[in-house]
């Protein structure tokens, strides 16, 4: 079995900052907006190098989304930066009318998504954002897994015409994908070959899925781990090909199981190949304060839970 290791942990938001910095140097049309969270979003370098192309809007996310929509009229490619909660739930109607329905080329970049935001608690830990964004017609939804992938995705979405929601997180997590990767929107990445169970994961749960696959391998279970960085459009072919071989699937995400990746996968399977599925995700709850590791353990969003669900779904074949 192919195994993955890492030499360092880095936060995915720093990958966003690095990608944005590179875009600042290579694409004159890229502009950035932030609602008083420059440091948290790691936008400092871009701002230092491109002060004229940065718009500090203050604590006013609704205005930020409208400004971004307006900036596209004139050929700019705006990247908005704030926490995931303030990037989605707070400004849903602004995104819906002025960005999605209006078909504007805005990149909504959202940090501190999910439980791993940690101690700030449920007011800031949005677990509904993937659902909110994937329901918007024409919106591309991406949830990256590590520093390198987040950097690559940030650069890639500038060349995609249309609105994008790019979701990443706060804590330092293992860096295990290649620094030189070519990020392809909508193209799933098969990380391990397996025949007994498919594990499709997104965001921080991808590494946990790889950890789970190692333990499962030791227990004689061959798991096929797929990194679904793009939740919409979903790589249906990759999922169907994998379950045609394994016959069962576990989906894993740092998000409510209602409205998340798991439901998108279930729709594909029910249409084309009904398959036993287990869901890793929060179960219709709000988060709470705690360390990221404590929260992921309490709400069952780690490799231990993935192993357990994999073993149980195999029995349902």
């Amino acid at each position: 079995m192919k195994t993955y290791t890492y030499t360092e942990k880095k936060d995915t938001r720093s990958g966003f900052g690095a990608g944005l910095t590179e875009l600042g140097r290579t694409n004159r049309n890229v502009v950035a907006l932030c609602a008083d969270l420059v440091g948290s979003l790691k936008m400092d370098q871009f701002i230092e190098e491109n002060p004229d192309r940065f718009f500090q809007v203050g604590i006013a996310e609704a205005n930020m989304m409208g400004l971004a929509a307006g900036l596209t009229i004139g050929g700019k490619i705006p990247f908005t930066g704030t926490f995931a909660n303030f990037s989605t739930g707070r400004v849903y109607d602004q995104i819906r009318q002025c960005i999605a329905y209006s078909g504007k080329n805005v990149k909504i970049c959202a940090s501190h998504a999910g439980l791993t935001l940690g101690e700030d608690g449920a007011t800031h830990q949005i677990l509904e954002d993937i659902g909110l964004m994937k329901m918007l017609p024409g919106m591309t939804v991406i949830n990256t897994c590590d520093y390198n992938q987040t950097k690559a995705a940030t650069i890639a979405i500038a060349d995609h015409q249309g609105p994008v929601y790019l979701r990443f997180g706060r804590p330092a997590v293992p860096v295990f994908t290649p620094a030189d990767q070519n990020f392809q929107i909508g193209k799933a990445i098969k990380l391990t070959e397996g025949k007994d169970v498919t594990i499709v994961a997104t965001g921080h749960l991808v590494w946990e899925a790889l950890e789970a696959s190692k333990v499962l391998f030791e227990r004689g279970i061959s798991a096929e781990v797929i990194n679904i960085h793009t939740i919409k459009p979903l790589d249906e072919k990759a999922i169907l090909e994998s379950v045609s071989k394994t016959g069962c699937i576990v989906t894993a995400e740092e998000h409510n199981i209602i409205g998340g990746l798991g439901e998108s996968v279930a729709r594909v399977l029910s249409l084309h190949r009904p398959t036993p599925q287990e869901f890793i995700g929060t179960n219709d709850i709000f988060g709470e304060s705690g360390t990221p590791a404590q929260l992921m353990e309490k709400y069952g969003l780690n490799s231990v839970s993935i192993i357990s669900k994999a073993e149980s779904v195999i029995k349902r074949k």
Binding site: V31, D52, R53, F55, V57, G58, A60, A62, N63, M64, M65, G66, L67, A68, A69, G70, L71, T72, I73, G74, G75, K76, P78, D93, Q94, R96, Q97, C98, Y101, S102, G103, K104
Partner: protein, 281 residues
């Protein structure tokens, strides 16, 4: 510049279009549309520097954003009669498979529309974004926008109003249609807003008032003065005092026609008060 006679003829013809459009589908918003007719006619036929045809980016020309999207009948009529699309298409207003949706949208690709509006309070932010894109592009044209007065109850406006002066966005002229009416009644009964002029000034804007917002000469004079104040480090606001339903006597001075279409008899009365000038669609 078109003659005063032509502008008056166009205004009357747009009023007819509005009445006929909303009557045909028994829905839409005639009151605010009629109140802003003179302003939109002036904007598209005199005030704005426009290029031939329609390009979304609008580089090298003045742009207009309609925030109070429910006055789409007036907007569509003025756009069609300014050459953005055939006037016959006004026949499709609010019908299925039409580019003339109930509220303006870019989704169906209607030339002349650059943003969807209808959910209120969002247009000021979009206009400011477009204004800043113009500055980045070293494009010295002006962004115009129109907002309802009731619409100012939406908080996002005040985020945008605060931002505009803080960032010295001085290539925008935002006009507020001060007709004093909203769906549930007069703005003073629904949610009194005090002095809108003082509020804008307190937020650092240059404010002009056009007392006769349905008088073409007054509009042209006021907007010309407003334009002369752009480029001086401050955003510019025009408070346009209009009469809702202007030009159709039974629709004037009431909120009753905010979102109600005339019946056959009422249409006939309204059209008789505005005899055909440039030809119906």
């Amino acid at each position: 510049m078109p003659s005063t006679q032509h502008l008056n003829d166009l205004t009357i013809q747009v009023r007819r279009d509005i009445l006929r459009m909303v009557h045909k589908v028994n829905s839409g918003h005639p009151g605010g549309s009629l109140g802003c007719t003179e302003f939109l006619v002036a904007l598209y036929n005199v005030i704005m520097t426009r290029k031939e045809g329609f390009n979304m980016d609008g580089i090298g020309e003045d742009l207009f954003f309609l925030s109070n999207g429910h006055i789409s009948p007036a907007f569509y009529s003025v756009l069609a009669r300014a050459g953005y699309f055939p006037i016959e298409e006004l026949n499709t207003f609010r019908l299925i498979n039409s580019r003339l949706q109930g509220h303006p949208t870019t989704h169906e690709g209607l030339p002349g529309v650059r943003i969807a509006s209808g959910s209120l309070g969002q247009g000021m932010s979009v206009a400011l974004g477009a204004a800043q894109a113009k500055k980045l592009n070293n494009d010295h044209h002006i962004i115009y926008s129109l907002h309802g007065d009731g619409e100012l109850q939406e908080g996002q406006n005040w985020e945008a109003i605060m931002y505009a002066s803080a960032k010295k966005v001085d290539n925008i002229i935002a006009t507020v249609d001060l007709n004093g009416q909203q769906i549930d009644g007069s703005t003073d009964t629904v949610l009194p807003m005090g002095s809108i002029k003082e509020k804008f000034e307190a937020f650092g804007w240059i404010v002009f008032e056009i007392e006769e917002g349905n008088n073409m000469v007054a509009i042209l004079k006021g907007m010309s003065e407003a334009k002369s104040k752009t480029g001086q480090g401050k955003p510019v606001c025009v408070l346009l005092k209009t009469v809702m339903g202007n030009g159709v006597d039974f629709m004037m001075h009431t909120h009753a026609w905010h979102g109600k279409a005339p019946n056959d008899e009422q249409l006939a009365i309204g059209l008789a008060q505005n005899p055909e000038t440039l030809g119906d669609y």
